[in-house]
C-alpha cells in the first residue's frame, strides 16, 4: 500500500506541474483541481491495509546519504489527520480560486499545489533531513502567492514572511544537523523510539533550542509571530486559508514530531520556558486582538493565541497535553480556515476589512452572518465544537502537573480563553449586528451564500461540528500511535 503513500504526494505534484505548464489555460486549472481532489481521495484511503509498525506505511529509499538524507516517508495516527486536512483545504482553495474571479487562476493553483506538496511532505517525512527539505519547499510558492495575488501592502508583507520564516528554518537546519551529526542517523522513528539516539542532555538542549526556535517562527509562537499579521492581512483569501489552516501546523507538528521526538531531554529542560511563552502567547494574543481594527489582522492575531494553547499542551510533555495539542492543531486548521474563507469573502465583496466600515451583516446577508457567527463561536472554544477539546485539555494537562506554577499557568491560560470570547464577540458585534453600513449594503449580492460557497464552507462547518461531538474520531488515532507513548514517557 505504499503506492497510496506515494500517490498522496505525487498527485498534487503532478497537478502542480500541469498547472505550471498550462498556466495560461483555465482548463489546466480545472485539471489540476482534479488532481488535488484525487490527492484528497488518496489521503483519505491511507488507513487502508495499514501495517502494525509505528508507521502505517513506509517508503524509504536513499537520496543523499552523505548528508543523512533519505526519501523516507510514512504515516501514522498523528500525521494522518493533518494530511487529510491539508489535502482538503487545498482542494477547497483550488475550487475557491476557480469559482471566484481570480487573476491568473491556473498559476495560483499551481502554486497552491506546490505548497501542498511541501506541507504534505513535512507531515509524511520520517527522515529529519527530508523533513527539512519539504519544510523549505513551501517558502517560495507561498511567497509568490502573497506577493503576486495579495493586497496593497503585499510586497513588504511577503518579504517579511519569507525573510522571517527562512531565518527560522535555517536555525532549524542547524538544529537538524546537530542531531544528525551527533547521532549519525536522521531516522525520526528510530530517534523517537530511542529517546534521542543517545545524545547527551546538553546536546539535546542545544538541538531542541535550535529546532524549537525554527518551529516557533513558523507556528508562530509569541514573540516570534510578527510576520504573521502582515502576511495574513495582505495575502489573498486562499493564501490566508492555507497559511493559517495548515502551514502554521508545520511548526507545531514539527515541534512535536521532531522537537520532542529527537530531543526529549532537551524538551524537558526547556519545558518551563515553553510554558511561560505559551501562556504569554495566549494572553498577549488575546489582548492584542481586543484592540484590532482590521478583520483579517484580528483573526491572524487570534492564531497567536490559539497556537499558544497548542504550545501549552506540548509544554506539559504529557500524553494528555500532546494529544490536546494535536487536536487543537486540527481544530484550529478547520476553524481558522473557515474564518479566513468568510472574512476573505466579506473583504472581497465590500472592499473593506476595517471593522468600522462593516456592520449589519445579519440584516443584509443572514446566511453569511450565521456562518461567521458559528465560526466565531467555534474559534472561541465553545464546547461541542472542535475548538473546545484541544484548549480545554491543554488547560487540564497543565493543571495536572500538580505544582503551583503549573496551576497558575493553567488559570491564566483559561482566563485567556475568556479573552478569546471577548474579542471574537466584539468582532461579531461589529460585523453582524447594528444597522448595515454603506459598504455592506452595497454588496448584498456578493455576500450571498451561493451553492458553490456552501459546498466550499460546508465541509469545514460539518467537520467542526463532527469533531466537536465525536472527538474520539481523531483521539483514538493519536493515542494509538506509538510515537505518542515515546515522547510522553
Amino acid at each position: 500500500m505504499t503506492a497510496v503513500l506515494i500517490a498522496v504526494l505525487a498527485l498534487p505534484a503532478a497537478g502542480g506541474v500541469l498547472a505550471a505548464l498550462g498556466h495560461r489555460h483555465r482548463s489546466a486549472g480545472w485539471l489540476a483541481t482534479g488532481f488535488a481532489a484525487a490527492g484528497l481521495l488518496a489521503a483519505v484511503f491511507l488507513p487502508a491495509s495499514r501495517g502494525d509498525g509505528p508507521l502505517w506505511h513506509r517508503f524509504d529509499v536513499a537520496w543523499a546519504p552523505a548528508i543523512g538524507l533519505r526519501f523516507d516517508i510514512g504515516v501514522d495516527g498523528i500525521s494522518y489527520p493533518l494530511i487529510v486536512l491539508t489535502a482538503l483545504l487545498t482542494l477547497l482553495c483550488c475550487l475557491h480560486t476557480m469559482s471566484e474571479t481570480t487573476r491568473r487562476p491556473t498559476a495560483l493553483i499551481g502554486l497552491l499545489l506546490a505548497v501542498e506538496v511541501g506541507i504534505l511532505g513535512v507531515f509524511l517525512a520520517a527522515n529529519i533531513v527530508a523533513f527539512f527539505v519539504f519544510f523549505e519547499i513551501v517558502l517560495l510558492p507561498m511567497y509568490a502567492i502573497i506577493a503576486f495575488w495579495g493586497g496593497p501592502g503585499r510586497r513588504a508583507a511577503a518579504a517579511k514572511f519569507a525573510l522571517y520564516t527562512v531565518l527560522g528554518s535555517l536555525l532549524l537546519l542547524v538544529g537538524v544537523y546537530v542531531v544528525v551529526s551527533s547521532t549519525g542517523t536522521g531516522d525520526l522513528v528510530a530517534l523517537a523510539e530511542s529517546g534521542g539516539g543517545g545524545m547527551s542532555p546538553a546536546t539535546q538542549l542545544v538541538a531542541f533550542a535550535l529546532l524549537g526556535v525554527g518551529f516557533a517562527v513558523k507556528s508562530p509562537l509569541w514573540p516570534l509571530h510578527s510576520w504573521l499579521p502582515a502576511a495574513h492581512t495582505e495575502a489573498p483569501t486562499v493564501g490566508s486559508v492555507i497559511l493559517a489552516g495548515v502551514l502554521l501546523k508545520m511548526g507545531t507538528y514539527g515541534l512535536i514530531r521532531v522537537g520532542l521526538g529527537v530531543a526529549p531531554e532537551g524538551a524537558h529542560a526547556a519545558a518551563p520556558v515553553l510554558l511561560v511563552l505559551a501562556v504569554a502567547a495566549i494572553v498577549v494574543g488575546g489582548l492584542i486582538c481586543l484592540a484590532q481594527r482590521e478583520l483579517k489582522r484580528l483573526i491572524a492575531y487570534s492564531s497567536v493565541g490559539h497556537m499558544g494553547f497548542v504550545l501549552l499542551g506540548i509544554a506539559t510533555l504529557s500524553g494528555t497535553g500532546i494529544t490536546a495539542a494535536l487536536y487543537g492543531n486540527i481544530a484550529h486548521g478547520l476553524i481558522t480556515g473557515l474564518l479566513f474563507f468568510l472574512v476573505g469573502s466579506i473583504k472581497q465583496a465590500t472592499g473593506h476589512g476595517m471593522l468600522t466600515e462593516l456592520g449589519g451583516l445579519r440584516t443584509t446577508a443572514p446566511g453569511l452572518a450565521g456562518i461567521l457567527g458559528f465560526a466565531a463561536l467555534a474559534s472561541l472554544g465553545l464546547p461541542g465544537l472542535a475548538g473546545f477539546w484541544g484548549e480545554a485539555f491543554a488547560v487540564y494537562a497543565t493543571l495536572a502537573g500538580d505544582s503551583t506554577a503549573r496551576a497558575v499557568a493553567a488559570a491564566v491560560a483559561a482566563a485567556g480563553a475568556a479573552l478569546a470570547a471577548a474579542y471574537l464577540l466584539r468582532m461579531i458585534r461589529r460585523v453582524n449586528y447594528g444597522p448595515p453600513t454603506a459598504a455592506v449594503d452595497g454588496a448584498a449580492a456578493a455576500l450571498r451564500v451561493t451553492p458553490i460557497r456552501l459546498a466550499l464552507w460546508g465541509p469545514l462547518v460539518a467537520a467542526t461540528v463532527l469533531l466537536g461531538v465525536v472527538p474520539g474520531l481523531l483521539l483514538d488515532g493519536f493515542t494509538a500511535a506509538p510515537f505518542l507513548e515515546w515522547v510522553s514517557r
Binding site: 489582548l287 484592540a291 464577540l425 474520539g472
Partner: protein, 599 residues
Amino acid sequence: MSASIWLLPLAPAACALAGLLVPPSGRRPAAAIAVTGTAIAFVTAVALAFGGGTYHFATRLAGFGDITVHAAVTVTPVAAYVAVAVATVALLVQVYSYAYLRDDDRYVPYAAQVALFTAAMLLVVVSDDLVLLLIGWELMGACSYLLIGHDRRLPEAPAAAVKAFLVTRVGDVGLLLGIALLGFHTGSFRIPEVLAALPDMTPGTVTAAALLVLAGAAGKSAQFPLHSWLPDAMAGPTPVSALIHAATMVAAGAFLLFRLLPLYTGAAAVVVALVAAVTMIGAALAALASDDLKRVLAWSTVSQVAFMFGGIAVAAGDAAVFHLLSHAAFKALLFLAAGAVIHVAGGNSLAAMGGLRHGAPVLFTTMTLGFAALAGIPPLSGFWSKESILGAAAGAGGLTGNLVLWAGIVTVALTAAYATRAWLLVFLGAPRGSTGHDPEPLMRWPLLILAVPTVLLGVAAFAGPVSGEPPHLWPTLPVLAATALGAAAVYLWWRREPATDPATRLGAARPLFAAGFGFDTLQRALVVIPVTLLGRFASWADVTIVDGAVDGSGHVTSATARRIAGWHLAGLPRHLWFTAAGAVLLAAVGTAAYLGMWA
C-alpha cells in the same frame, strides 16, 4: 429505557439543527419542528419521572491519555423532575413564542435556537460526566447570547448579549479549572466517581475545586459578583427571558451545585452562604427600586436563585431543587404574563402601567397567583419551597445556617414588598393608557397551564420524593411575619398615595438600588476599561517593540549595507588598502591563534 435518556437532549438538538436549515419564510414548519423536538423531550421526561427509578447510560467519548471523557447520562427522580420542569417551560415558551413573534422575520432561527437552548439545559440536567455537562453548560451560554441579541430594533441588545456571554464565560473559566482539578485528583470526570473519591483529596484541594466550580455556577446563575448580565439580558424577547429565568441558564448553576453537593462543606459552604446572602438581599433591594417590570422580575430571579444557593450552603440539596422547581413554575408564568402586559402597555416602565385588572382578567388572575407565589403566600408553591430552605438553615445552625436564615428572612420581607409593589402598579390604581385585553389563545393557554404548578406544586411536593418534611413552627412564623410585614408596608404606602410609586419612599437610595448599587460602573472601571487599555497597550507594544525589533533589525541591516556599499565607492586605492590591511589582520589572527589566544 436507559438509552432513551438521550432523547432528552438529542431530540430538541436534532430538531434545532433541522430547524436551522429551514428557509426564513418557513414559519410553520420551523415551529412544528421545534415544538416536536421539545414535546419529545417533554414526554420522555414525564415518562422517566413516572418511572421513578434511576437510569444510567454511558459510553466512552474521548480519551486523552490518562483520562477519559464519557458520554454518560443519568436520571435520578430529582433530575427527572427538573427535566420535566425544563421541558414544560420550554414547550410552553415555544408555543407562546409562535404567537409572540408573529411579525418577526427571524422567527425561524429563533425557534431553532430556543430548541437548542432547551437541549443544552437538558444535557446539563442529565449528564453524569463533568465535561459532558460543561458542553451543555457553555452551549447554553452561546444560545443565550444568540437569543438575547435577537431583537435588531433594540440598539442595546447586542451589547447585552455580549455581556451575558462574557460574564458567564468568566465564571466558566473557574468551572473549567474546577473540573480539571477534580478530574486530575480523582482520575475521572464521572460525577459519582468524583464524589466517591473526595475523601481521598486534601481538604484544601476540595475547597479550591468547590470555589472554582462555584464561580461557574455563580456566573450562570447570576449570583454576586457575576450577576450583572442578567438585568441587561432583558433586551432579549420576553419568552427568552422566561426560558432563561425559569428553566435554563439560571437554574443550571443551582442544579450543578446540587449535583456536586458533597463538595460544599466547611469554608466552601460559608462562601456559598455569603454569596447567597449578599445576592438575595441586594437583588431584592434592586427589584424594589426598579421601574422596569422585566428588571423587577430579573432582579427577583437573582434574589430567588440566591435562596437555592442558600439551600446548597446548608446542605439542603432537595430543598434547593424544590425551590428551583417552584421558581421555574411561577417565574415562567410571571415572565410570559409580563410579555403580555408589556405588549398591552407598550413599554416596560411600571410608571406607564396601571389598572389592567379590568381589561385582562386571565392575565390578572394568573399573574396575581405568580406574584403571590413569589412573595411566599401560603399555600402557593413559593411558600413551601422557601420555607423548606429556611427550615433547613434553621436546622443547620452555625455561621452558615444563621447567615442563610437571617438573610432569608430579610429577603422574604423585601420580596413580599416588591412583589406587592409590582402587582399594585400593574393591575390596580387608575388605568394609564389602555386598560388592556387578554392575550390571544396561544399566549393565554401557557399562562393558564403554568398557573397549575404555581399553585399546587408546594402541596404536591409532599406526595413526591423532593421533601417530605412538614414545616416547623420555627422559622415558619417569622417568615410569615416578614412576608406580611413587607406586603403590608408597601400596601399601606400605596394606599396613602395610589398615584405614586411606593418605591419613592426609598428616597435618595432608590437610584442607587435601581442601578444595582452601581455595580456595573464598578465592573466597568475595574475590569472592562483596564482590559481594554491593556489590549491597546499590548497592541501598541506588539507593533512598536516586538515587531519594531524585527523591523529595526531590518533597518540596521539596511543602514549597515549602505555604509558598507559606501566604502566600496572609493576607487582602486581603497581596494589595495583593504587587501594590504586584510593580510596584516589575518597574519595577526594567525599569530594570535599560534599563541593560543584563539578560543
